[in-house]
């Protein structure tokens, strides 16, 4: 009995020491949306940072998917219980930007903390998304990907097609789908994130506006513009393919990825970050190709990103902001970025990381993994291909999803659906403008 008491007493004493030791460190919170393999890799980054110095501790918490994380962050902000760092997906960027006072802009944070930080080290197609029109970086790019075409080579052979055939235009893709359907392939084409790929990226790639005012970069009074003849032609084509059984719609997010990995789908448009899962699960030969385009426009422009950036929320002490700055600077280090890029299939968001990866021979031993980067940076970005900055965009995407589903199931023409999506989306944009003016 005495022994037990002694043990308890010494444990308590020990806990006190540990407690005071931990208090000496500044602790900051990071809320994010990564589980599974990505969550493990993120945890690894945090542990590496915590071990690399003895002043700061970063604690990370997963708050669900992207939307759930953003909502948790916003709700916590209203209650004054928010974390230091919040992961926000690209769709939520405009909402954060408009909420002046809710965040400390990245350039400000780094300056106040005296942290060395070079915003020009980032790939401009990525950092442009998170930078104001006058060149101030507001949040720190974390994970970014872009859509590419995934090819199941085995199914191509089964369809009597040359697996190396040119699939650079939608017309050629259409021919391949015809052949596949004729040979009885059940799912010639599928897609993930259909609004992101077939409208948002489609616009940038063809250098046509998705919305006016430089896709919203130039002002809150932007209006949607994705009901142009080129957009309509493409969505009508998708609808026709769906009616003919060549395109199977599996859902709004990345549901179709399962079908591709299971070897059911021949051609899939999906994020370059599908790489980790496909490489792990696919029991067939696969290839990565550039996103197809319409030959009518000359060479394609560039595609835009999806993914997230990290925002330093306001209302924290100077000490904590210093810790946040140190951690974010750590994340942008070349070795950290290069490893993240190679492990996940996300883009190397700093030019140095992309260079280091090339030098290591990674692209040679993993063919196709460099396509996403090339596709993003093949041209100087235009005002149509810089990205999107639209308020309430999560909601607008929901509207686009709904309307396009009407095209796939044959109840609407592309013209009617896109006109209606533009009209309904504009109502939300006006509402957002009003709430944020």
């Amino acid at each position: 009995m005495k022994k037990i008491k002694a043990i308890i007493a010494s444990l308590a004493l020990f806990a006190m020491f540990v407690g005071t030791a931990a208090q000496a460190k500044v602790e900051i919170q990071w809320w994010h949306a990564f589980g599974g393999r990505l969550g493990e890799l993120l945890d690894e980054q945090v542990n590496k940072f915590n071990a690399s110095q003895d002043k700061y501790t970063v604690v990370h918490t997963r708050k669900g998917n992207y939307s759930e994380t953003l909502n948790a962050g916003i709700a916590a902000f209203r209650a004054g219980q928010h974390p230091n760092i919040l992961m926000v997906f690209e769709v939520g960027t405009a909402s954060l930007m408009a909420a002046k006072g809710a965040y400390v802009p990245m350039y400000q944070l780094m300056k106040d903390a005296g942290q060395r930080f070079n915003p020009n080290g980032f790939v401009s197609a990525v950092s442009g998304y998170y930078t104001t029109t006058d060149g101030k970086m507001l949040s720190m790019p974390y994970n970014s990907s872009t859509p590419v075409l995934w090819v199941n080579k085995d199914l191509m052979k089964k369809a009597g097609l040359d697996p190396e055939m040119d699939l650079s235009t939608w017309k050629r893709v259409g021919n391949a789908l015809d052949a596949a359907k004729a040979k009885g392939i059940d799912m010639p084409f599928c897609t993930c994130w259909h609004s992101w790929v077939h409208l948002e990226n489609f616009s940038a790639y063809h250098n046509i506006p998705f919305a006016t005012k430089s896709n919203g970069f130039a002002g809150l009074d932007t209006e949607l513009a994705f009901n142009s003849p080129v957009h309509i032609k493409h969505i009508q084509t998708l609808g026709k393919w769906a009616q003919e059984g060549k395109f199977k719609y599996m859902g709004r997010r990345n549901e179709a990825g399962k079908n591709f990995r299971a070897g059911e789908c021949m051609l899939m448009t999906e994020s370059s970050a599908g790489y980790a899962g496909i490489k792990k699960e696919a029991k067939f030969e696969f290839a990565i190709r550039h996103l197809p385009y319409y030959g009518a426009t000359e060479a394609p422009q560039n595609t835009i990103i999806g993914g997230s950036s990290l925002w330093a929320l306001s209302g924290k002490s100077k000490e904590e902001n210093k810790a946040t700055a140190a951690f974010l600077a750590f994340l942008s280090r070349t070795d950290i970025q290069a490893k993240w890029h190679q492990d996940t299939g996300y883009l190397g968001v700093t030019t140095a990381a992309a260079k280091a990866t090339k030098k290591s021979g990674f692209y040679k031993s993993n063919p196709g993994t460099d396509l996403a980067g090339i596709q993003m940076m093949r041209n100087k970005v235009t005002q149509n291909s810089k990205g999107l900055r639209l308020g309430s965009f999560d909601q607008i995407r929901g509207i686009i999803d709904e309307e396009m589903e009407g095209v796939y199931n044959g109840t609407k023409t592309a013209q009617v659906a896109l006109d209606s999506a533009v009209k309904r989306g504009n109502v939300l944009l006006r509402r957002f403008e009003r709430a944020n003016k």
Binding site: S67, N71, I74, F77, R78, S95, A98, A99, K100, G101, A102, K248, Y249, M250, G251, R252, E255, K258, N259, A262, S392, D394, Q395, G398, D401, E402, E403, E405, G406, Y408, N409, T411, R424, V427, R431, R434, A435, N436
Partner: protein, 293 residues
């Protein structure tokens, strides 16, 4: 003769009803008041600034054809969930009531699904009908029926009704069984001796005697279908495709918590509040009259 108890003075009765009043205030009056107040404003998501907009939130809603369509969706959904789960519950209760051996086992197993939370039930059914890995969709395909509830509104509606009714069948079963067992055997036996068939007895004796329970269940089930099913809808369809499964309460949830449009969400809660008030009055005024206690 009604029994009445009188208290002298006012403080004891006040003290006795105080806890209930407090609960009502904290969990009903305060939030409802907040909802009404917030429905007049257009705040930004972070709560940094807000603007008084009068009735604009309501105008915004009532000019949205999808919001108006969601009333119809709600009626179809609630009716289907209440009727199907009550009919099946009654059917199973009638069968279980006649069991002689192993009644306890059957009853326990039939009540089991009630223990499953709506969101989890949604995920269960979603797995079965999932286009990639679902057993049900696999067999339907083998039979030549194309199942894709992510694209076909009627299939999505069927699935959310199925998932929402499933757990409710147990609940309704439990109450109907208790109701059936409370009916004196002697009445049924007397009718049987007089030569009334099973269906005759069921229609003229059992159903009328079950009417208080049926009425209670109708109210409870409609409330359930109106308010407690957004977990199922969120996990299975997220209101899609083309908002074909967006019922009113799901829209409150998705506009408020997914889209962060608190003004519109609050206005919708106010509309729902009024709607439920009207429904309750109708139920008690017109339907309850037909109930025999």
């Amino acid at each position: 003769m009604e029994k009445r108890v009188f208290f002298k003075g006012w403080w004891l009765p006040a003290l006795l009803v105080a806890p209930q009043l407090m609960i009502s205030f904290v969990f009903f009056f305060y939030p409802s008041g907040q909802a009404i107040w917030n429905s007049l404003f257009l705040p930004d998501p972070f709560g940094l600034k807000t603007e008084f907009v009068g009735l604009d939130n309501f105008r915004f809603l009532l000019s949205d054809p999808y919001y108006l369509a969601s009333f119809k969706t709600t009626i179809i959904f609630s009716t289907a969930v209440s009727v199907s789960s009550m009919a099946l519950g009654l059917y199973l209760a009638a069968l279980a009531d006649r069991l002689i051996k192993g009644a306890g086992v059957y009853q326990t197993l039939l009540i089991w699904p009630y223990a499953i939370a709506p969101a989890i039930a949604g995920v269960l059914w979603l797995f079965m009908f999932n286009g990639n890995i679902g057993l049900a969709s696999y067999y339907l395909k083998a039979l030549g029926y194309e199942w894709n509830h992510t694209l076909k509104g009627d299939q999505a509606m069927f699935l959310v009704i199925l998932a929402s009714s499933w757990g409710r069948i147990s609940y309704n079963f439990l109450f109907f069984l208790a109701g059936l067992q409370a009916i004196p055997k002697s009445i049924i036996e007397a009718a049987a001796i007089d030569g009334a068939s099973f269906w005759k007895r069921f229609g003229t004796i059992v159903i009328p005697l079950l009417s208080p329970i049926t009425f209670f269940l109708l109210v409870v089930n409609i409330v359930y279908a109106f308010f407690d099913t957004f977990g199922v809808i969120h996990t299975i369809t997220s209101g899609g495709p083309e908002q074909s499964t967006t019922i009113l309460v799901y829209k409150v949830f998705s506009d408020g918590f997914v889209s962060q449009d608190l003004g519109s969400s609050a206005a919708q809660s106010v509309i729902l509040l009024v709607l439920v008030g009207i429904l309750t009055v109708i139920q008690f005024k017109y339907i309850e009259r037909k109930v025999h206690y």
